[in-house]
């Protein structure tokens, strides 16, 4: 296994182990996601707006907000006892460091999404059925894009006094393109439309992932090094 990949996996495993022990990010993100779903469910007037019309938007708003909660912790854990200095001091390529943090964040946000999905079907009475594989695919594509941006902004924000405030301000504009594409695809999937109608949006998501994962990996060093 190449050294960079081995180091990235070690960093991701460390983050996951620390999170499993503290459960701060996962628990707060899950509670937050459930709360958003409850609020949307009871705020909707079913005689005016059907569940299917609203479902895709609600699902992605929930995912995006819950991801923000989870991403806030990504580099907070490195702030304790200046642990980030310990990482930067070691002979670890910055690309490996970014990849490790990205993998850990994907695991957190992916877990939140997978737990939220059954709650969503319950609250909105949506039957996923044949749409499930496609939905999981679009969840993966969209999540990789905004989590890679979230990882780099989290590294940027953590050195400031207002990290929790700064992260959403920086991240939300960049989340818009993948969220629009994800909502469009999800809405069509839930309506039982054929996959051929969605290729354009899926290509946009894939392109977004390739561009931003590469870009984030390249600029990460400039963000973390003084």
């Amino acid at each position: 296994m190449p050294d960079s990949l081995r180091l990235a996996l070690a960093i991701a495993a460390k983050d996951i182990r620390a999170e499993l022990r503290s459960r701060t990010a996962l628990q707060s993100a899950l509670v937050f996601a459930a709360l958003v779903l409850v609020v949307f469910n009871f705020a909707r007037d079913p005689t005016v707006l059907s569940a299917t019309d609203l479902a895709a938007s609600v699902l992605w708003v929930t995912f995006a907000l819950a991801a923000m909660v989870a991403l806030n912790r990504a580099f907070n854990v490195e702030r304790e006892n200046a642990a980030l200095d310990g990482l930067l001091l070691a002979p670890v390529p910055r690309e490996a460091l970014f990849l490790g943090k990205l993998l850990a964040n994907l695991a957190f946000v992916g877990t939140v999404e997978l737990v939220t999905l059954p709650l969503f079907t319950l609250f909105f009475n949506v039957s996923l059925g044949a749409a499930l594989p496609g939905l999981v695919g679009v969840m993966a594509l969209a999540t990789i894009g905004f989590v890679s941006i979230g990882t780099i902004f989290s590294a940027m924000a953590v050195r400031t006094r207002f990290a929790e405030l700064l992260l959403p301000v920086l991240l939300l504009p960049f989340m818009v393109p993948p969220l629009i594409a994800a909502v469009q695809v999800t809405s069509r999937l839930l309506s039982g439309r054929p996959l051929s109608e969605m290729w354009g949006w899926l290509r946009l998501l894939a392109l977004y992932d390739i561009v931003f994962v590469t870009l984030c990996m390249l600029v990460f060093s400039a963000v973390v090094d003084e």
Partner: protein
């Protein structure tokens, strides 16, 4: 200064060379040779001491990281606390764990910032003896302290930094008592 020497900060002018090689970000061999003990422990509060040091050993690409970590903690007198998390430890025990972390990859250059802080007399003596042994084996040490007595016997050269500028840099000679009046004059005490 230690952050510059460790490569954690970029100098605005000049170049830093460690073991004759320029300290650049991509140069893993030079970075691997450096150990740093700062005011902060670099330990994760949610991981046990053993997990913390095993992770540090992995970052340096060491073989059998778990065994090395356990041995390093044992050497630091923390062999019976492998499963404890740093936030439950006293200042002195945390300092011992931080020292073990800084030394785990057997660095050739060790940067120490007030290394005796929080240590009890026994642990301080043990660290001093350990540093003496390592110095004998060719380790280079840069030790920053406000308490000259703690480090005087370890030093081969003495430097005094006043408001970011070198006020003195010379071989250590004689007893601390003979240097002390000059030192107090340099720092304006």
């Amino acid at each position: 200064m230690l952050r510059l020497l460790a490569g954690l900060m970029r100098p605005t002018a000049g170049e830093i060379r460690v073991l004759g090689r320029p300290l650049t970000r991509g140069e893993a061999r030079t970075r691997r040779a450096i150990g740093l003990l700062s005011h902060q422990s670099f330990l994760y509060d949610d991981l046990t001491l053993l997990e913390n040091l095993t992770f540090a050993a992995r970052l340096y690409g060491l073989e059998r990281p778990g065994e090395l970590a356990a041995a390093a903690l044992d050497h630091a007198g923390l062999g019976d606390r492998l499963g404890e998390v740093p936030r439950r430890l006293s200042r002195g025990l945390t300092q011992r764990a931080a020292i073990a972390r800084a030394l785990i990859h057997d660095p050739r250059v060790l940067l120490l910032d007030e290394p005796f802080t929080g240590l009890d007399a026994n642990a301080a003596d043990r660290l001093r003896a350990d540093l003496h042994t390592r110095l004998g084996h060719g380790l280079g040490v840069v030790l920053v302290t406000h308490h000259l007595a703690e480090a005087w016997d370890l030093a081969s050269r003495v430097a005094v930094l006043v408001e970011g500028r070198w006020a003195a840099y010379e071989p250590r000679a004689g007893a601390l008592e003979t240097f002390l009046p000059r030192y107090l004059g340099l720092i304006g005490a």
